[in-house]
């Protein structure tokens, strides 16, 4: 009898944890985040060299999608004030066949 009780409590507990997780942590990406991701993927496809002209990169990204900030390696460029942003990270490995990794993080506004 006690085993059945323990089993039932465990099942209910698992159900509770699952529903709480799906509601909070595993909330799917919003439409605008996906739109921003597509735009940034296109930028990566279209240009190898843009990440090495920081001001141009920031200007292009700021005109492509609503962003709070653009971080290129350790330089943070604040574009618009925002209480919450989704960070999307990209890596430009290099240009013209040479290796010169550049890390770019874009804070996409909701």
């Amino acid at each position: 009898m006690r085993i059945i009780e323990a089993l039932l409590i465990s099942i209910v507990l698992i159900l509770f944890m699952y529903s709480a997780t799906t509601l909070t942590i595993r909330t799917p990406m919003s439409g605008h985040e996906i739109t921003a991701e597509r735009a940034l993927a296109w930028l990566l496809l279209r240009s190898d060299s843009i990440a090495y002209d920081e001001s141009r990169l920031v200007l292009v990204i700021a005109n492509m999608t609503p962003v709070g900030y653009v971080k290129v390696d350790d330089n943070v460029h604040h574009i618009e004030a925002s209480t919450y942003t989704y960070p999307i990270r990209l890596i430009w490995l290099g240009f013209n066949g040479t290796l010169a990794p550049r890390r770019v993080e874009v804070g996409v506004k909701p």
Binding site: E5, L8, I9, V12, L13, L15, F16, S19, A20, T22, L23, T27, P28, M29, S30, G31, I34, E37, R38, L40, A41, W42, L44, L45, R46, D48, I88, R89, L90, I91, W92, L93, G94, F95, N96, G97, L99, P101, R103
Partner: protein
């Protein structure tokens, strides 16, 4: 008895919590139910790495697979440092040269594919007056494009800008992906570059 009550109370609280969460999820503003894990970015990163490998191959030769593998390893290294979980992939390469038609292809096992293609057609000769004299050029028609395939976007075909870094060859843009290249007679093979640095050999 009190222990049993406690258990029932716990069950009741949990069931109530589940009901509240279910009600809350129904009451929320609906969001697009799209599952994505930055797949677009990951596929674009693979294309970027493969293209860099092709550029290096066209510049210094060697093995295309080794060049692509080098950039891919670096991509995974930097991605690891940045906390990007790019799924591991395997790839194959193919270099095809036949009858004035050239293609470089990198195919990943997640269906991401990069192809760089060009085709040359000889179109006779032309004499152009220059600086009081005349220069005889051999005329080539060049068709040039990149194709990037991925499950996320299907097929993208781009027509990069081409130029001659040495400035000896006349490169005239006709329309999307089509160029006329005038190579001075006496120059056996001219090497053009596209905007990514891919070296394009023009000549017999």
């Amino acid at each position: 008895m009190s222990s049993r009550r406690g258990q029932f109370l716990l069950l009741g609280v949990l069931i109530l919590a589940i009901c509240l969460l279910a009600a809350l999820s129904l009451a929320r503003t609906p969001n697009p139910r799209l599952i994505s894990s930055h797949d677009w970015i990951y596929s674009a990163e693979l294309v970027h790495a493969a293209r860099l490998g092709i550029v290096k191959y066209t510049k210094i030769g060697g093995d295309l697979g080794e060049h692509v593998g080098y950039f891919l390893r670096e991509l995974y290294r930097v991605a690891g440092e940045e906390g990007l979980n790019i799924p591991p992939v395997d790839f194959s390469t193919d270099v095809s040269v036949s009858n004035f038609t050239y293609s470089y292809r990198v195919l990943f096992n997640n269906s991401v594919e990069v192809t760089i293609y060009w085709k040359l057609e000889p179109r006779g000769f032309i004499l152009i007056g220059k600086k009081g004299g005349a220069v005889l050029y051999r005329v080539w028609r060049l068709e040039y494009y990149h194709v990037y395939r991925a499950p996320q976007w299907g097929e993208i075909r781009i027509h990069p800008i081409i130029w001659d870094p040495r400035g000896k060859v006349e490169v005239i843009h006709l329309d999307r992906g089509n160029w006329r290249v005038l190579v001075p007679v006496g120059v056996d093979k001219a090497f053009l570059e596209d905007e990514y640095g891919v070296r394009i050999g023009v000549g017999a």
